[in-house]
């Protein structure tokens, strides 16, 4: 293994619908921007990794139809589809390809066009033996384990609503974000329609059209192309059992995220995550999940996540800003959402995050989450 770093990122505007572009054109826009940010052309790319949940759009073999939009012509190109973790899994796969020594420059592109698909139908096409007859889409599935988390941890609807407010306020500083609501209030979140107790509409992520791309370069190449690469220091994946019943108390325990974070921290030498991590971009499809992830990631002691948000620790100007981009709560093109977490973490380390830049960010955490409790964790650093 050799070191590898992210040297460029690019994304489209995330929106309810991009009726002006088809999937390949959407992907090409993000890819072109990432290549331009990296200062290279598609001819210098050695391999391409794509991320997309094709079931949502009902279009098989997207790596074939859409791969050309990522410049995959006559190159090794693969597609990763692991639900919510698709984007982070693709980012980790791209890192493996580059760090393994097989390829010097790897392009990763994730995308989703929810406006073209039937996302909740796609979500319902789960295991036909058990889950399909009793599943109720992402919201019901989440609410089930959120009710357990709330009962055991005592977090309040207002504390969850603060997470939702923080995300949309941060998003207002991110020109690419879908939901930008700078003056959203806790009361407005709590007054929004109840989707499934205790989850209000504004506690939940939107469905977005969008794409995001990032460029990896190997040590020896990265330093020549980029003044401040974002070096990958850890990349860890943990998958759990798929049957919902086997994941009883999922949000309370969140074993996969806990294990992945512990392994990643160990690799980097992080013993006090709140002090040693400068910024985090975590995959929070619902406000309550961000609170649960604070505990699983060791940002606070168990049961203290509500206090963490109350004290403003994870605000843009707090000790450990979480999701300055606005996160998944503000933009959620699923296949791109994980790539976005990694790209936004890289932008912070590279000093290219614009209005939502955290000053002196040198160590950034990115996570991915899949609805069946799958987790990815990456740690990026300004230092090799």
């Amino acid at each position: 293994m050799r070191r590898a770093a992210i040297i460029g990122t690019g994304q489209t505007k995330h929106a309810k619908a991009h009726d002006d572009m088809n999937q390949a054109e959407l992907v090409r826009q993000a890819a072109t921007r990432a290549l331009s940010d990296a200062g290279i052309t598609f001819r210098e790319v050695d391999a391409v990794v794509l991320a997309n949940m094709e079931l949502f759009e009902g279009r098989a073999l997207p790596e074939m139809w859409v791969g050309a939009g990522a410049g995959g012509y006559l190159k090794p190109a693969i597609k990763i589809a692991t639900g919510g973790t698709s984007g982070t899994s693709a980012a980790i796969a791209g890192y493996h390809q580059c760090a393994s020594g097989l390829f010097d420059i790897v392009l990763v592109v994730g995308w989703e066009k929810h406006s073209e698909g039937a996302t909740q139908t796609g979500m319902a096409m789960v295991d036909p033996l058990w889950d399909r007859n009793v599943a109720s889409g992402a919201v019901g599935n989440f609410a089930l384990s959120i009710s357990q988390y709330v009962a055991e941890r005592g977090v309040t609807p207002a504390q969850a609503a603060k997470v939702a407010v923080k995300a949309r306020r941060n998003a207002a500083k991110n020109p690419y974000a879908h939901l930008q609501i700078p003056d959203l209030t806790v009361e407005q979140v709590l007054r929004s329609p109840m989707l499934a107790d205790p989850v209000h509409r504004l506690d939940m992520c939107p469905q977005s059209d969008g794409a995001c791309a990032l460029v990896y370069a190997a040590q020896g190449v990265a330093e020549k192309l980029c003044a401040q690469p974002a070096w990958v220091r850890a990349a860890v994946t943990r998958h759990d059992q798929p049957y919902i019943g086997d994941l009883d108390r999922r949000l309370v325990t969140m074993r996969t995220l806990r294990d992945a974070a512990r392994a990643a921290y160990h690799q980097v030498g992080i013993v006090e995550p709140r002090k040693q991590i400068d910024v985090a971009e975590i995959y929070e499809p619902v406000s309550y999940a961000e609170l649960a992830w604070y505990e699983a990631l060791g940002f606070c002691a168990e049961g203290k996540a509500g206090e963490l948000i109350d004290e403003g620790v994870t605000e843009m100007n707090g000790e450990l800003p979480v999701n300055p981009s606005g996160g998944v709560l503000s933009s959620n093109p699923v296949g791109a959402s994980g790539v976005l977490r990694v790209a936004e973490a890289a932008m912070q380390v590279m000093g290219r995050a614009g209005a939502h830049q955290i000053a002196d960010a040198r160590v950034a955490l990115a996570t991915g989450y899949g609805v069946y409790a799958w987790s990815d964790v990456m740690i990026l650093s300004a230092d090799t």
Binding site: D19, G58, P128, L129, W130, D131, N133, V134, A135, S136, V139, G140, N141, A143, L144, S145, S147, Q148, A151, P193, M194, L195, A196, D197, Q241, P242, Y243, I244, G245, D246, L247, D248, R249
Partner: protein
């Protein structure tokens, strides 16, 4: 089409093999109205519904045993949108007596205020059964059941 979109759809039926454990489990639901789990020889957990192998230990289960029929409500959710379905869907995680995993299923015959974690529930089987998970139509709350009766 209009100027911007092409519309296309699919309507397909699929036939999935249930597999050794699920076939036996579903036949028992249909023929005996019993719920079966399987014990992992390594971690000793009773997995319900029965699985042919333990997803944690990666070994074959070797002990087939009846669980429930009573259980304890571990979590539930009644999304408003799912109440518009026919029948309405109230999703539940249920710890069946004798099982070490939760069982995902539906609740029925309840008044919303009576739902709470820890509530005792019992299965209601469909009159017409065809070897499908919904041969077990739903679980309903019970004041006293076999597990707790004097």
């Amino acid at each position: 089409m209009n100027d911007d979109f092409v519309t296309a759809g699919v309507n397909l039926q699929f036939h999935y093999a249930a597999g050794a454990a699920a076939s036996r489990f579903l036949c028992a639901l249909r023929d005996e109205q019993k719920i079966f789990g399987a014990r992992c020889p390594e971690c000793r957990r009773v997995l319900a519904p029965a699985r042919s192998f333990c997803p944690r230990c990666f070994v074959e289960t070797n002990e087939w045993l009846e669980v429930g029929p009573g259980g304890t409500l571990s979590a539930f959710v009644a999304p408003p949108f799912a109440q518009l379905l026919e029948p309405a869907l109230t999703l539940a995680l249920i710890r069946l007596d004798g099982a070490d995993t939760a069982f995902v299923h539906r609740l029925g015959e309840f008044d919303a205020p009576m739902l709470r974690r820890g509530l005792r529930v019992a299965p209601v089987f469909a009159a017409s059964r065809q070897g499908h998970i919904l041969d077990l139509a739903y679980f309903k709350p019970v004041e006293f059941d076999n597990a707790h009766s004097i």
